[in-house]
């Protein structure tokens, strides 16, 4: 093993991550990516009406979710949180059931558009489309955890575009005042659909806003998975110790169009798209694991096969599931009893 490899290898070990851990993390990044690609293929093939997904955001999501307790802690996702939801416990099948709007879709029974995750068993809150509303929800959940002394930590995600919303501001302020145990994640891909960062804010980082609320703020390179893990775990530990919220910004590339309804070529240059592809966390993380000798051509192939099988099986399973019955549309307007 080369000297470089040793130093680099030290990185995840120093962070307390085992080889098994980082390989598993990589598996989730790869799974999320493969699921993502499958969803777009299904959409183009006319099997799905709409796709919105997280290509480019997977690294930071897996890293950020890693310190969280899958059973105890809460997650309040947004539509790009594919990888984060997978780590939290949802399966590829769960997500494809949503894509196909099946009756057994655990998020909404096919009622919501794809990308609107939610799963009570994994304490993933049901999400909606209006950007920003989830931030106050997460803070409320965290407040309840503090009041009820459950020890839960809540993580909430949003794009940098969503930080322009009043709700985002109000949520940060409330969280800071009450030292709520919440990790406030912003996935900054420098685009809100087509609107570039400079038209969204006059600063280049959202994390600088943290000081204005009296909480720590940190920015990490979203393509550096281990760094994302490091900053999140630190924030997680703070939250656990009762020291309150942290604003965490991940600088990420948006690899694809905003959604299947969007053509990013209208507003992004070829050069920009090329630049962005270099920041693909799947590649940067893989390169790291190769450098430290944890991924070889053989093990990579095994991993790829494992992912492929998982996606294939999930697609079949979800595809076979039934659509909801029309007359169920009247259900669950109000509570119907246990």
């Amino acid at each position: 093993m080369s000297a470089e490899a040793k130093t680099v290898q030290a990185r995840h070990r120093v962070l307390g991550l085992s080889d098994q851990d980082v390989l598993e993390m990589y598996y989730y990044v790869a799974l999320a990516r493969a699921l993502d690609e499958r969803m777009w293929v299904l959409q183009r093939a006319g099997k799905a009406m709409f796709v919105i997904s997280g290509a480019g955001h997977e690294g930071c999501q897996v890293a950020a979710m890693w310190p969280m307790d899958k059973k105890l802690d809460w997650f309040v996702p947004y539509y790009r949180s594919v990888a984060a939801c997978l780590v939290k416990g949802m399966t590829a099948t769960d997500m494809l059931l949503g894509l196909f709007a099946r009756a057994t879709d655990p998020s909404s029974g096919g009622r919501q558009m794809p990308g609107h995750y939610g799963h009570p068993r994994f304490k993933i809150l049901s999400t909606s489309s209006p950007v920003g509303t989830q931030y106050p929800h997460a803070v409320g959940i965290a407040y309840a955890s503090r009041l009820r002394r459950t020890g839960e930590v809540t993580m909430v995600s949003i794009g940098e575009g969503g930080t322009s919303q009043g709700d985002w501001h109000e949520a940060l302020n409330f969280a800071a005042i009450h030292k709520c145990p919440v990790l406030l994640i912003v996935e900054n891909n420098e685009l809100a659909i087509s609107v570039p960062l400079r038209k969204q804010m006059a600063v280049s980082s959202v994390a600088v806003r943290a000081a204005g609320y009296g909480m720590p703020g940190v920015t990490a390179d979203g393509s550096d998975v281990l760094e994302c893990f490091r900053v999140t775990r630190e924030a997680y530990d703070r939250a656990k110790r009762g020291e309150g919220p942290t604003l965490i910004e991940f600088a990420v590339p948006r690899l694809g169009s905003h959604s299947s309804d969007d053509q990013q070529e209208r507003y992004r240059s070829r050069e920009e798209l090329e630049q962005v592809r270099k920041r693909d966390p799947l590649l940067t993380f893989r390169a790291y694991l190769e450098r430290v000798g944890l991924l070889t051509q053989g093990t990579l192939q095994d991993m790829t096969d494992r992912v492929r099988r998982e996606i294939d099986l999930s697609t079949d399973e979800a595809d076979r599931a039934p659509l909801p019955q029309p007359d169920t549309a009247t259900r669950h307007v109000f509570y119907e009893g246990e």
């Binding site: 929800h137 959940i141 709700d167």
Partner: protein, 327 residues
């Protein structure tokens, strides 16, 4: 049983429910030391502490949004909006989130939040401290909307709202707080959300109202009784879901319907009652379904002559009753 004021009934319900269930908590502007600008939360922070009686920042959207999150995680929040006029910034959270949480999650998540808001015009409350907001929210499936008109109902329905597994918009006409008194049991009871109630039996005409307008309408009914007009007055205390049966039963009996509300006429809450009666009681009607409501201007103006011009009083109601009865 004590005769107490409407505001005291509201306050009692808070005290009893918070004592009864540790999951209940209150959040809003000035709900702590000050006890709320109308006194609804008086004495709570002293008894239940700052963690359960939260003086929030001046930010209504987060009052609603944080409450929704709390409810998702096992609490039963009562979110107070200082005036109904200031609930508007929370419109998105209430309509997009609270009302849809259960439906969109296919029944897996609920939203047991009570949104309390003092509404309606009182003396000198002007454009921005007197709005009626029931029409906005009663239109939204997934929300329950109530507007009790007596201290007894105020206490009982607030308790029911707090225990309800779904979001309830609880509207208190602020004119009633100090002037409407009534008998209220000290102990625990609830008044179910849903049923309307006939407050006064009558043969000649059916009048439908809620909140303060119910009180003015009862007074108007008494004043025309001397003239031999016998008005049946129904308290539509739950605006959504609406108890259509009670309404139709009354119309079937009197064959005339008058709907009274303080909000501006156009697409105000009474439009739905009128539309229902017109469709379902067509053959029962001897006269057109009639609405008496606020004028279609953007708010109740401040200056006394203008305020009086706007206000629906028992005299105006009596005039409308006479006209419809004579039809």
């Amino acid at each position: 049983m004590a005769e107490i004021r409407y505001i005291d009934a509201i306050n009692q319900a808070h005290h009893e429910e918070m004592a009864r269930d540790a999951r209940v908590l209150v959040l809003g502007e000035d709900v702590g030391r000050k006890g709320g600008v109308f006194g609804a939360t008086m004495g709570l922070v002293e008894k239940f502490g700052e963690d359960r009686v939260i003086d929030t920042p001046l930010a209504e959207s987060s009052i609603a949004g944080v409450a929704i999150g709390m409810a998702a995680n096992g609490l039963l929040p009562i979110a107070e909006f200082q005036f109904a006029d200031f609930i508007h910034p929370a419109f998105n959270q209430i309509v997009s989130e609270a009302a849809r949480m259960r439906y969109r999650s296919n029944g897996l998540y609920g939203c047991p939040v009570v949104f309390r808001a003092p509404y309606g015009g009182s003396h000198g409350t002007a454009l921005y401290h007197s709005q009626s907001i029931e029409a906005f929210y009663a239109h939204v499936p997934g929300l329950k909307v109530v507007a009790p008109s007596t201290p007894y109902d105020a206490k009982g329905m607030l308790k029911a709202a707090i225990r309800d597994p779904d979001p309830v918009m609880f509207l208190e006409h602020k004119r009633m707080y100090r002037i409407v008194r009534g008998e209220v049991p000290d102990g625990d009871y609830t008044v179910p959300i849903g049923p309307a109630v006939v407050r006064r039996q009558g043969r000649d005409l059916s009048l439908f109202a809620y909140g303060w307008m119910l009180n003015e309408s009862l007074a108007a009914a008494e004043s025309v009784a001397a003239e031999g007009i016998d008005v049946e007055v129904t308290d539509v205390r739950t605006l959504a879901p609406l108890d259509t049966d009670t309404i139709l039963t009354s119309v079937a009996k009197t064959n005339r319907a008058l709907i009274v509300y303080e909000d501006n006429l156009f697409l105000g809450y009474g439009a739905e009652i009128a539309a229902r009666i017109a469709e379902a009681a067509f053959f029962d009607l001897d006269a057109p379904v009639t609405r008496l409501a606020g004028p279609d201007v953007p708010g109740i103006p401040f200056a006394k002559p203008l305020e009086e011009w706007f206000s629906i009083t028992k005299d105006k109601i009596a005039t409308a009753i006479r006209k419809l009865a004579a039809y």
